[in-house]
């Protein structure tokens, strides 16, 4: 088994060699440009871009709590994830059935579309102030995330239902399926890849929203709160720790969902 592995590694290297080299060059030059720029700015007495090593040191300190918030980085991350997951779960739980309903019934669509067409283009952050005032500082950020995730999921599910190939419905009917069975065995499975796409988009929006929402208030801490607090105190090294934490979380969740999206589409033979 080991033999095969090392062989396949060599094989990958041979095939993907150029890609790997260029990726490495891209990453290394990014780091070097960052480093060089921070040294240059430092020499100009501008301190807002700390060098990578300084940020790394700040990261190590942050693990047990930065000097400003005293809250370990992991706690900030958990607090943000907590809000994120709640807002996200709420959006899925409401958007999926509504999307199925609005996709399946034109009356539901006539009823639901005008309102959602008005609400959908409003950026969640434009409403953040209202959500904080109406739901308080505890639930405000959650509702803001909910709003950001809700519409991509709703519209994708609705689009999925409306995209169902009519032949599949005909086939199901001639095979004796009832209306309920057609919904459960044709429309629902057909919609799942669309739902996954909606979730993917929603995840991206969600991370953007949660960081900014936490700038207004974040009881329990949060990465966004960490970024704002360190910013207003000019502790840019710790601010970059927060920024990088958000970047990594965003990359992880979106690539995970994209992977899942592809796997589902593949498993369902729809790709």
């Amino acid at each position: 088994m080991m033999g095969t592995t090392s062989w396949s590694w060599r094989e990958i290297l041979r095939r993907e060699g150029t890609k790997i080299v260029l990726t490495a060059i891209s990453l290394v030059s990014f780091l070097l440009i960052w480093w060089g720029l921070s040294i240059y700015l430092e020499s100009m007495k501008l301190s807002y871009l700390p060098a990578p090593d300084v940020v790394f040191e700040a990261f190590l300190v942050s693990l047990s709590g930065d000097p400003l918030t005293h809250n370990p980085l992991l706690n900030h991350i958990i607090a943000s994830l907590n809000r994120f997951v709640w807002g996200f779960a709420l959006a899925i739980v409401l958007a999926v059935p509504l999307g199925l309903l609005m996709g399946g019934s034109k009356y539901a669509r006539y009823l639901g579309m005008p309102a959602s067409e008005i609400l959908r283009p409003i950026p969640p952050l434009a409403l953040a102030g209202f959500f904080f005032a109406a739901f308080g500082v505890l639930y405000g950020p959650i509702v803001t995330v909910f709003y950001g995730v809700f519409f991509p999921v709703l519209y994708n599910v609705m689009f999925g239902v409306r995209s169902v190939d009519p032949i599949l419905l005909d086939a199901a009917r001639t095979l004796g399926a009832s209306r309920l069975q057609m919904f459960g065995k044709v429309i629902l499975p057909f919609t799942i890849p669309y739902l996954m796409t909606g979730i993917s988009i929603g995840l991206g929006v969600g991370w953007m929203v949660i960081v900014a929402a936490e700038w207004i208030a974040a009881p329990g801490g949060g990465v966004g709160a960490l970024i704002l607090s360190t910013y207003t105190n000019g502790m840019y090294d710790y601010m970059f720790v927060g920024i990088i934490a958000v970047a990594i979380l965003g990359i992880l969740t979106t690539s995970l969902s994209r992977l899942l999206e592809n796997k589902v589409a593949e498993r369902m033979g729809m790709k």
Partner: protein, 368 residues
């Protein structure tokens, strides 16, 4: 139903809900530690609502929001900053150092207007039955968007003061030392900015030269050209009452002109609604958006040393006037352990007060 997909959907929803529940229930968070005060940043104007909703157990803020929470019955004052730090300087007037040096006469005029406005407030507060008093309360209420009784209460908990006494200088040293003790500033921050120790720093950072020169400043001629000065200040902060009064054209005795205009000054602000915290005012200095700032002395010190922002303190705006307000059931500092307190932001004197009080009582402060 296609069983497999139904099961998958139910499973996903269940996992999400359970995960959310676990996160929300605080299982992953350590239990409330009685030696830790947890804090969160909430704008002072929202603190009263947050205490009422039970999101936090109390808040540390500035006037008039302290009086606001007390008068509407949300909470009671646990500690006034004046009891903990008697006569402590709070908000100050800071100048962009280069701007002031290049426009020293304008700078002197600005300080003069600030002094005149402060003295007018001091005098007016001694005559609570006068028309001027009513006028002052109305100006304060309009600025802070609170009613006059809140403003009246607020003025009892702070002193309007421009003079930088030796005691004030000592406090500035204490604040700086406090920041260093808390690890927010390091020895190197002093050295990087050319100071060998804390007392030398305060010596240089406080510049009373403009105030001394202001004694000789007279009102400008009625038709004189006004000089524009860009000013940054905090949103709704009555500590900076002098600025609000100096802007007003309704103060009797100045021929319908504002006090600033009387001394040849016309102000503008890049953020007319005011900044959320002193740190933001310092950022405005850093970006060369303002020439003069009204802000808490701690952020003026902290950000100057932290980021080398070229500013100087030229006058006080007020002393005292901050407080920790808590809900019923919290009766002493020791009770704050394990509680959740709202703060305006870490670049504020209120945050410094909270941390200083906590350390004095063997408690630590942590965002939570």
């Amino acid at each position: 139903m296609e069983r497999k997909y139904l099961i998958a959907i139910v499973a996903v929803v269940a996992v999400v809900v359970v995960a959310a529940g676990v996160l929300a229930s605080g299982i992953l968070n350590p239990a409330n530690d009685p030696t830790v005060i947890k804090y969160t940043n909430i704008a002072p104007k929202d603190q009263s609502a947050a205490i009422r909703q039970g999101t936090v157990d109390g808040g540390v803020s500035w006037e008039p929001y302290v009086s606001d929470s007390v008068l509407d019955g949300t909470g009671h004052v646990l500690l006034e900053s004046g009891d903990y730090w008697p006569n402590h300087p709070c908000c100050v007037v800071a100048f962009d150092k280069e701007w002031a040096a290049a426009n020293s006469e304008t700078a002197q005029r600005f300080v003069k207007a600030h002094i005149v406005a402060t003295e007018w407030i001091q005098q007016t507060l001694k005559e609570p039955n006068s028309e001027n008093y009513t006028k002052l309360m109305e100006i304060g209420a309009a600025f802070s968007n609170r009613n006059v009784s809140v403003v009246a209460e607020a003025t009892k908990h702070m002193q309007m003061e421009y003079n930088i006494s030796d005691e004030s200088r000592q406090y500035f040293q204490n604040y700086t030392q406090e920041y260093m003790n808390l690890g927010l500033l390091k020895e190197s921050n002093l050295n990087d900015n050319g100071y060998s120790n804390v007392s030398e720093f305060v010596q240089q950072y406080v510049n009373t030269g403009y105030m001394e020169a202001a004694a000789g400043i007279e009102p400008v001629a009625a038709n004189a050209q006004l000089t524009t000065v860009r000013v940054g200040f905090l949103a709704g902060d009555l500590h900076q009452f002098a600025r609000v009064v100096a802007e007003s054209t309704e103060i009797p005795g100045f021929d319908g002109k504002s006090i600033f205009a009387t001394y040849g000054i016309q102000t503008t602000s890049p953020q007319p609604g005011g900044y959320a915290a002193g740190g933001n005012v310092m950022d405005a200095f850093n970006l060369d958006q303002i020439d003069v700032g009204y802000l808490g002395s701690p952020p003026a010190i902290m950000r100057h040393l932290q980021n080398g922002i070229p500013t100087e303190i030229v006058a006080l705006a007020n002393t005292e006037g901050s407080a920790i307000v808590v809900r019923a059931g919290i009766d002493n500092i020791a009770d704050l352990g394990g509680k959740f307190i709202a703060s305006p932001g870490e670049s504020s004197i209120q945050y410094l007060l909270l941390r200083s009080v906590a350390e004095q009582n063997g408690l630590t402060v942590r965002m939570g």
